[in-house]
Amino acid sequence: MAQVNSINNKTSQLTVDPGATANSFIQYNVNASNKFIMGIDNSASNAFKISAGSALGTTDTFITTTAGIITRPLQCAFAYRNSSIASNVTGDGTAYTLAATTKIFDQGSNFSSPTFTAPVTGYYYLSVKMYIRNEPTAASTSGTIAIITTARTYTFFLDNPSVLPNSGTDFVESVYVFTNMTAADTMTTTLTMSGGTKTISMFGSAAQFYTGITGSLIC
């Protein structure tokens, strides 16, 4: 018969074992309220989990497989993109705020177009990619891509954008930062092209990630 829950003071081993094929866990309560549960989810290939509440497999916050690969299914992480073109948004100095309305994923639901809101205080990776169209037509002479957080603005300068388009009228730039954010701080992204006409568009596609915003809480 399998060993069941036991404390062995001689070996300092605290063993948790259902004595059959089933979950093996410790339940943490506060005044009879189930807060967290930690242990082996037998129904999920014996992964080790830390889950909020009273059930492994529901509200899992930390999972390590038997191969040692760790996922955090509720950790803040998001990716949104433009699935269609936004026409004539800048070129004359207008600061265009990227909408990025098509969700690829959004763990924690912290992005509401066009704004990401930090759920907790921490250090975040933030990135924006912009597929810029019609530059030669607009004849802009300068431009900036900005990641704007509550604490500060990170600016990428396009000093001579007229030379950047490919054989057509397009070019793509990407800007990313690793930054600190306080809980409830926000982030938006803008493109400002100046010195020309308001005929620059932000390209988007349902098939490919041409333009969009991504980010995640690192630590």
């Binding site: 060993q3 404390i7 490919n166």
Partner: protein, 219 residues
């Protein structure tokens, strides 16, 4: 005398203590089969570990030292670079895959999910941070487009622009990074192409890892 394993129902404190120098842990079994062990590895400066199996120090999946710095030694993470130059790789719109001609040199590959052919395969479903960098050579002013893509099973992430006015000595570095959602078994690789000439553009390699592909599982 040191406190040994005990349960204090008045304070709801469960204490695990070997009563001497030694490991302090909880063993999670399923029907007498050791699945995971969680606790203090006294032989490793008293770090807190979650380890697969029955021994702290073997198959450690999560380690936190007494300063609060965590590590995940089995987490998917990789870096590979092109060790030598591939000449005549593109220039005529040919899509060149990093690792597809000359095998990449691996710097690290936790979990062995990355091949020297430049292909990363996601071991579990999750959110991955992926970065690519390409160093092009033998460019001329006729090369009116350079691109770098991260191609995943689900999505292509693309950077492109006219490189004819920004090259120096015929060389140009272009980079890309993104957060990507990948399902277990999905693949990712880096590719590049240049346009405007015949197939004379090189992808420069070397020990400085100027042309590389890296990534890790975030959450």
């Amino acid at each position: 005398m040191a406190q040994i394993n005990s349960i204090n129902n008045a304070t709801s404190k469960l204490t695990i203590d070997p009563g001497a120098s030694g490991n302090s842990f909880v063993q999670f079994n399923v029907n007498a089969s050791s699945k995971f062990i969680v606790g203090i590895d006294d032989s490793a400066s008293d770090v807190f570990k979650i380890s697969q199996g029955s021994a702290l120090g073997t198959n450690d999946t999560f380690i936190m030292n007494t300063s609060g710095v965590p590590r995940m030694p089995l987490q998917a993470a990789f870096l590979g670079y092109l060790p030598s130059t591939d000449t005549n790789a593109t220039g005529d719109t040919t899509q060149y895959t990093l690792g597809g001609t000359t095998a990449l040199t691996k710097v690290f590959d936790q979990g062995t999910n990355f091949t020297t052919a430049g292909v990363f395969t996601a071991p579990v479903t999750g959110r991955y941070h992926l970065s690519g960098m390409i160093y092009l050579g033998a460019l001329t002013s006729s090369n009116n487009l350079a691109t770098i893509d991260i191609v995943t099973t689900a999505t292509i992430y693309d950077i492109n622009f006219n490189c004819s006015s920004v090259i120096s000595s015929g060389k140009l570095s272009i980079g890309i990074n993104t957060m990507a959602s990948m399902t277990a078994g999905d693949t990712a690789f880096v590719r590049t192409r240049a346009e405007g000439t015949s197939k004379v553009v090189s992808v420069l390699g070397g020990a400085n890892a100027n042309s590389s592909f890296s990534g890790y599982l975030v959450c």
